[in-house]
Each structure stands twice: as C-alpha cells, then as structure tokens.
C-alpha cells in the first residue's frame, strides 16, 4: 500500500491549501506517478486536479514536485522517487496555484515569449531549404528538445525571486537555441535585449535546473554561453 500525500486547494471552497492522504493499492507494481494520480482520480476522489496529456514525457504537461524534486509524473517511476512507502506530491513551486496540482504558468510563458523564440532572418529565403551543415545543426542538440514543462525554472531560486525580470533557465535555453542557430541573423538584437542586470545575470550557477530537467538538458551551460557572448560583446 502506497501512502500518498497530495496538495489540495480549491479556490472556491478552501481558505488555504492542505495536504490530503490517500492509501493507494499498487499491487506491487512499479507504476509511474501519473498512473498513481489516475488511480486516485478514478477510484478515490474524482475532484483531484492535475494536467496530463501524452503520458510519455514529451508534451510537458505534468511537471510536479514529487518527494521534494521536480519532474514529470508520467516518466517518474515510484522506484525512483518513493522512500519507504511515502509519496508527497505538490505543484511546481514558485508559481501561483490555480487548483490542486495545477499552477498558473503565465509568468513562465511570458519569459519564453520575451526571448523571441522564433527564427529571424530577413534575407529572402531560397526556393528550397536554407542549407546547414551537420556540424552547425549539432549546435542545436541539447537545446531544441525543451518541452516547456517548467521543471527547471520552478526549481530555480533566482526565478522564485524575480520571475518577472529573470528570464529563467527555460527561456534562456531557448534564447541560446536561436543564438546558436546558423540560420538566425538577429544575434545582436537578441543579445541587446538580454543585456541588463536581471535577464541573464541573475543566474548564480546553482544548477537546480540541470538536476531536474526530465530531458537531460543543461540550461546552465547555455546560460554560460550567453554570458560569454554578452561579455565579448561589451569588450
């Protein structure tokens, strides 16, 4: 029997959030945390609220805090997160809670949009694709795979403090994804928009983002590259 402690909050009925306990029969199977949530919703309490979609770790819907660590519920097996028989599930930290495990991601998305996450190249496009060597394309590996689950940014103390001014690891990873793209010509404009004390330089290299990224990406490294580009530009 798995003891699950779930963060509950319904803005219509609850003055404050509380933790609710459920005993879940897992039949000894090493279920994913999402399976456990589905069991609770189907068999214990249909009002338990969370997001989910692909259930295979590519859509980024079910970023949650499980026994203190951010991750995707659908690809986190119980064996990886449960100590003893206890599983504590909370919403991603640092963002306003809408209900139960569902957070308001507006600030997170706003930071993503701020970095102009789209290719910019005003030169007329050729009749076929723009050419790019395999080596140039390899520069995008480890960057383009981001699924916008927010596990990284919501584990970052700098983002907790300044979610409106520090772009955060997810946004900066995408900023560098376009800075690193041989087809993009807006480098100078992109850097000038990031060149202030907050957007990039609030990263203190804590690396929580690296520890929690479910896709194994390294935002800290990307931020380091942006930092270097900004410093080189200044000199």
């Amino acid at each position: 029997m798995l003891q699950v402690s779930l963060y509950r909050y319904n803005p219509e009925t609850d003055d404050a959030p509380f933790m609710q306990d459920f005993s879940v029969e897992t039949d000894g199977k090493d279920l994913m945390v999402l399976d456990v949530l589905e069991l609770i919703k189907a068999e214990h309490d249909g009002s338990v609220t969370y997001r989910r979609s692909c259930r295979e770790g590519v859509c980024g819907s079910d970023g949650l805090n499980m026994n203190g660590k951010n991750g995707l519920a659908c690809i986190t097996p119980l064996s990886e997160t449960v100590k003893g028989d206890k599983l504590v599930i909370r919403p991603l930290p640092g963002l306003p809670v809408i209900r139960d495990l569902v957070v308001d991601m507006s600030l997170f998305y706003a930071q993503y949009e701020k970095v102009q996450p789209y290719l910019q190249n005003p030169t007329p496009a050729p009749a076929i694709e723009r050419l790019q060597t395999p080596e140039e394309r390899a520069q995008l590996d480890g960057l383009y795979e981001c699924i916008l689950c927010a596990c990284c940014s919501t584990s970052c103390p700098s983002f907790w403090w300044n979610p409106d001014r520090f772009v955060g690891p997810a946004g900066l990873l995408q900023a560098y994804r376009f800075l690193a793209d041989s087809r993009d010509t807006a480098t100078e404009d992109r850097l000038s928009k990031l060149d202030d004390p907050f957007s990039v330089f609030r990263c203190h290299g804590i690396q929580n983002c690296v520890n929690v990224c479910p896709k194994g990406l390294n935002p800290t490294k990307a931020i380091g590259h942006i930092r270097t580009m900004l410093l080189n530009r200044a000199t």
């Binding site: 319904n10 803005p11 219509e12 009925t13 919703k41 189907a42 068999e43 309490d45 249909g46 009002s47 609220t49 969370y50 997001r51 989910r52 979609s53 692909c54 259930r55 295979e56 770790g57 590519v58 859509c59 980024g60 819907s61 690809i75 097996p77 809408i98 209900r99 139960d100 569902v102 991601m105 998305y109 949009e113 102009q116 996450p117 789209y118 290719l119 190249n121 496009a125 009749a127 076929i128 694709e129 723009r130 050419l131 790019q132 060597t133 395999p134 140039e136 394309r137 995008l140 383009y144 795979e145 699924i147 916008l148 376009f178 793209d181 087809r183 993009d184």
Partner: protein, 587 residues
C-alpha cells in the same frame, strides 16, 4: 452567455490547427485558436520518425508522383487521387516553409534536410526499390514541428484560448455553422465563440481503444461535435494499428527504427517479415506488418511467458547510430520497456495509432455532406483538417510520415481558402438565442444531473468493447455483439455523472464531455466496420478475407441521425497525372 467574435476560429492547437491559424493570422484576419491544452502539449508533439515528402534531398531524382503512387497503393485504392495529388505536389513547398520558419531538421553532408526510408516507399512507381523520403528531425520530428508552428504563431500574434474546451457546434436557421460553445477550463465560464469560419483540427480519438499510442487527450472531440450536429463521418472503420507500440505501455516506437535497419523477430529469433513481404520485408505497409505480427502471435511464435508480443531488434545498428538518429526511442524504451535497445530487442505489439476516417472534406478543408440526390454538398461555415478530417489522402491505410504532411498541407490549404473566402465576403445569418441554447444543451444537462455513473469505469468499459470486438482482425458476428454492447452503454454514457461541481479547473467535467465524444466516435466505427463486408487496408475481416472492388471500392459514410451507412465515390481523376488503377497490393 457572453459572445466573442472572430473571422476564423480554429478548434485544436496541434499541427493542423496551428498551421491553419498561422495562415489566417498572417493574412490579418481576426483569428483565434481554442485548445484544450497549451498548444505544445497537443499530440502532434509525439510524432517521431518524420514527414514524408519528395524534396529530392536523399535522391536528387525523387519525384512527387512516386510518392503519390505509394500513397494511393498504401490507401488500398480508396484514397482520393485528387487530394493525394495535391498533398504530394504541394508538399515540398510546405516543407521548405517549415524549414524557413526554423524547424531544426537533421541534415545531410550537403547541408540539406535528412531523409530516411519508411514503410511503403518506393522509387519509380514501385519499380525502383526502396526510397528514403521521410524528412526527419532526429526522432523528434513532431516535437520540432509543433514547437516551430507555435513559435511562429507567437510571432504573428495569433490569439490563443489555451485550456478552453469546445463543447458543441452552433448552427443557424440555415444549417450553417457559425461558431462553437466553449468553456474556459480555469474559470468554468461558458461563452459563444462566433465565427464566419469554424475549423476543426481536433485530432484523433485513439482513446476509444484500451491499448493506444495516443495521448490521454485524443478523445475525438471534433467527431463527437460533428456527429451530434448531423455531419456525416467517412471511413470510420479504418483505424491504423501501429506495428510497434511498446508492449504493456502502448507508447510508440517509430517506424523510423525499421527505416534505419531495425527488424522484427519472433520467439525463435526469426525475421518473420521476410515470409509475409519478401520485397519490402519490415517496411511493408503498416496494416500488413501489424497483421503479420498478430498471426505470428496467434500461431504460437510470440515472445514472453504468454507469447503475446514480438520484438524489435535494433542492437546491430550500433550505439552511435541509435544515439544520434533514434535518441528518443532509446529514452522511451529504457523508461517504458526497461530495455536498452543498444543491447536488447524491444518488446512490441500492434497498438491503435491513427484514425484514417473522419469528417469528409474537399482539398480546401470544407466539410461535406450529401444532399437529397446523393451529391456532395458543402456545409457552410465548417472546415476540418488533420486527423479529424478525411480528405481522403490515407484511404484504408496511412503510410508512415504522411500524417505530418497531411496536417501541414491541409492546415495551410484551409487557411488559404478561408482567407480568400473572407476577402470575397462570407455572409452567414446570425444564430438566434434558441440556436445558441440548443448548442449548450448537452453541457447544461451534465451540469444539472444529480445521479449517474462515474466517468472512469464507463470509459474503461467502452475501451474494452472496442479493443475486443473491433481490433486488428474482425468478424461479423463478434462485431454485432460489440454493437449490442455499445447500444447498452449509450444511455449510461449520456447519463454520466460529475464527480466534481466546482467551476475552477474542473477536469472531471471535461472528462465527461470527452467520454461522450469517444462514444460517438466508437459507435460510428463499430457500425461501419460491421457494414463493410470485405477486407481492405486496415480493415481485416476473417469472414470476408478478400478485397471486394465490385462493391466496396468506395468510401463509407456514417449518418448519425439514423445510424445508417451509405457509400460515397472515391476520386479517380487527378488533374495532372494519369489515374492509378486499382491492382493487387503486395509488398
């Protein structure tokens, strides 16, 4: 109820919806996307292997007509040849546009887009051997495509209603579609979203089956809304079972694995596809491979203690190829099969993957019905593109890599056509208060119901019926049993009860509405599958094992108002090439 007005409203934020939205937003018309999830959470994100198109990178001689031939053959000859011609010939332009938007395709040494072999592909109209025509971004092509489209919609300032759920169509007194009723999931507010053009890009409904590669959200919402509004559904018996879903979990393993040189083995380690498809082997059509796998299992050559699956062997490709070309597969296999494909084969089983059928449309995305004389008639105001549409480019069996092409090409085509129509002026009469209230009836009934069964067990029951009675192999008697079970289930699904009455982010309410959409889709599937007494493409009857061109070289049309099935002609008149005549289909 508040009314919000747009020139064009797109329901669904996956690849098709966002491509259509992008086209309309660029034209300056007031465009909105209603998506029940944040757009990059849509199921397009799970597409892996690529997007098939004759861009002549891997083979400079490649020709879209060869791609057309493969697609017509793959469809078992009930794909519409004018639509397939349009898709294959416009495809390259649509792909290059995506690249110009920033899609991070993998590359060849020449710097062009990398293309890999996929099933059912040939050169020179089947005479020139295996082609490599599927454009790929590693094995994350859907993710790369979906994010690129979202990014470009941000750039073009498309209005998004994210985490809004479309409930039902609003029709005016003339029967024209003039928008939808939608709920804001976060607040529970219900509004009438009024529009001159309503585009369904709601994706598939793989969740009608117990075992599926599809996301939880693939609940046939567009099919449900259409069928309730009296729109016919075409070719609903045609469901693709993907050969390689991970055994037990259902998650997809791309056909690109076999394109890169992987192959299937039975318990004896035999590469059994050599027996079933001596030429194409593991790259035969998906329907052919899936049936061969089931036969291996039924004949006692399955793997595992229960002999209920086969295995996909990849280890001979080497770690370097696997990690560079199929990194996502390595990840999924380790997570869901507890198997490292670098060392061991992956346990796989045919798994429900794709709905070839859907809302019948023309190449402009206009939804079609039939008039009293049996002729095609456009339904004013309603459009469909992507998986929910049946244009029909896939016929009885879709080729791998053709779904991403379908959604990009026809999302774009719908946008282009609506833009032109808006410029010429679209005059639809306003919906009356009664019309709007009629569209809100289902939601009101759900909200007011005091008793009924819970959603999860009902959904499970529906999925088990479909899995057991309408799977890879089908027989009339067993399907009729399934139809009777569905008839019993209908009333219970209509009376499903809310487990939660809150207006704040009420996912219980959404799941109930989705269940009703699943049911409509499932029932259409069941009734048409029983009616088509032949075997064609993905529809394999044990009691009618042969293809019957005399009676069934046609689309099926399902009419929800009387649950009757009629036939609709297939288009055999492409504009620029000779007709591809039906012939025996072998690989």
């Amino acid at each position: 109820m508040r009314t919000i007005s747009f020139d064009g409203v797109i329901v669904g934020g996956g690849g098709a919806g966002m491509r259509a939205a992008l086209q309309l937003a660029q034209s300056g018309y007031k465009t909105a996307v209603i998506s029940k999830v944040f757009p990059t959470r849509s199921h397009t994100v799970s597409a892996q292997g690529g997007i098939t198109c004759a861009i002549a990178s891997a083979d400079p001689q490649d020709d879209w007509r060869w791609h057309m031939y493969d697609t017509v053959k793959g469809s078992d000859y009930i794909g519409d040849q004018d639509a397939i011609e349009y898709m294959c010939s416009v495809g390259p332009e649509a792909i290059f546009e995506l690249e110009h938007m920033g899609l991070p395709f993998s590359r060849t040494e020449e710097g062009r887009i990398y293309q890999r072999p996929f099933g059912g592909q040939s050169k020179n109209y089947g005479e020139g051997g295996q082609a490599a025509r599927t454009c790929a971004a590693a094995d994350r092509t859907g993710h790369a495509l979906l994010h690129t489209l979202y990014q470009n919609n941000i750039k073009n300032e498309t209005v998004f209603f994210n985490e809004w759920f479309a409930v039902d169509l609003v029709k005016n007194q003339d029967g024209a579609v003039v928008g939808v009723i939608a709920i804001c999931i976060e607040t529970g507010e219900t509004v009438y979203v009024k529009s001159k053009a309503t585009v369904f890009a709601t994706g598939g409904a793989g969740r009608i089956y117990a075992s599926t590669t599809n996301a939880h959200i693939n609940t046939g919402d567009g099919m449900g809304m259409a069928l309730r509004a009296g729109v016919p559904a075409q070719d609903m018996e045609m469901w693709q079972f993907h050969p390689t879903g991970i055994y037990g979990a259902g998650t997809l393993v791309t056909e690109g694995c076999r394109g890169e040189g992987g192959y299937l083995i039975n318990k004896d380690g035999e590469r059994f596809m050599e027996r079933y498809a001596p030429n194409a082997k593991d790259l035969a059509g998906r329907d052919v491979v899936a049936r061969s796998m089931v036969l291996e299992i039924l004949e006692g050559r399955g793997c595992g203690p229960n002999g209920d699956h086969v295995k996909l062997k990849l280890d001979h490709l080497g770690e370097e190829v696997l990690e560079s070309r199929l990194p996502g597969i390595c990840e999924l296999s380790r997570t869901f099969a507890h198997v490292d494909p670098v060392k061991e084969p992956i346990p796989v089983v045919p798994t429900c993957h794709y709905m070839m059928g859907g809302i019948p449309t023309n190449v402009h995305g206009q939804a079609l019905t039939v008039d009293a004389d049996g002729n095609d008639a456009v339904i004013p105001g309603l459009y469909a593109c992507g998986e929910v549409a049946c244009v029909s480019v896939h016929g009885a069996n879709r080729l791998g890599g053709n779904s991403l092409l379908d959604l990009v090409v026809f999302g774009r085509a719908s946008g282009l056509f609506i833009e032109k129509s808006l410029r010429e002026g679209i005059e639809l009469r306003d919906a009356s208060q009664t019309d709007i209230e009629a569209a809100g009836e289902r939601l009101n009934a759900l909200n007011e119901r005091e008793s009924g069964e819970q959603v999860a067990p009902l959904r499970r029951e529906l999925q088990e019926i479909m899995q057991n009675h309408f799977g890879v192999f089908r027989t009339g008697e067993f399907m009729r049993e399934g139809i009777a079970k569905l008839a019993d289930l209908r009333g219970r699904v209509e009376n499903v009860a809310l487990a939660d009455r809150s207006s704040a982010f009420n996912t219980s309410r959404i799941e109930c509405l989705e269940l009703q959409n699943l049911f409509e889709t499932a029932e259409a599937t069941a009734i048409v599958a029983e009616a088509r007494d032949e075997s064609r493409g993905a529809h394999a009857r044990e009691d009618f094992t042969e293809r019957d061109d005399e009676n069934w070289l046609c689309h099926s049309l399902y009419h929800s108002e009387n649950k009757k099935v009629s036939k609709r002609g297939v288009n055999f008149t492409p504009n620029t090439v000779e007709t591809f005549q039906p012939k025996a289909r072998s690989y």
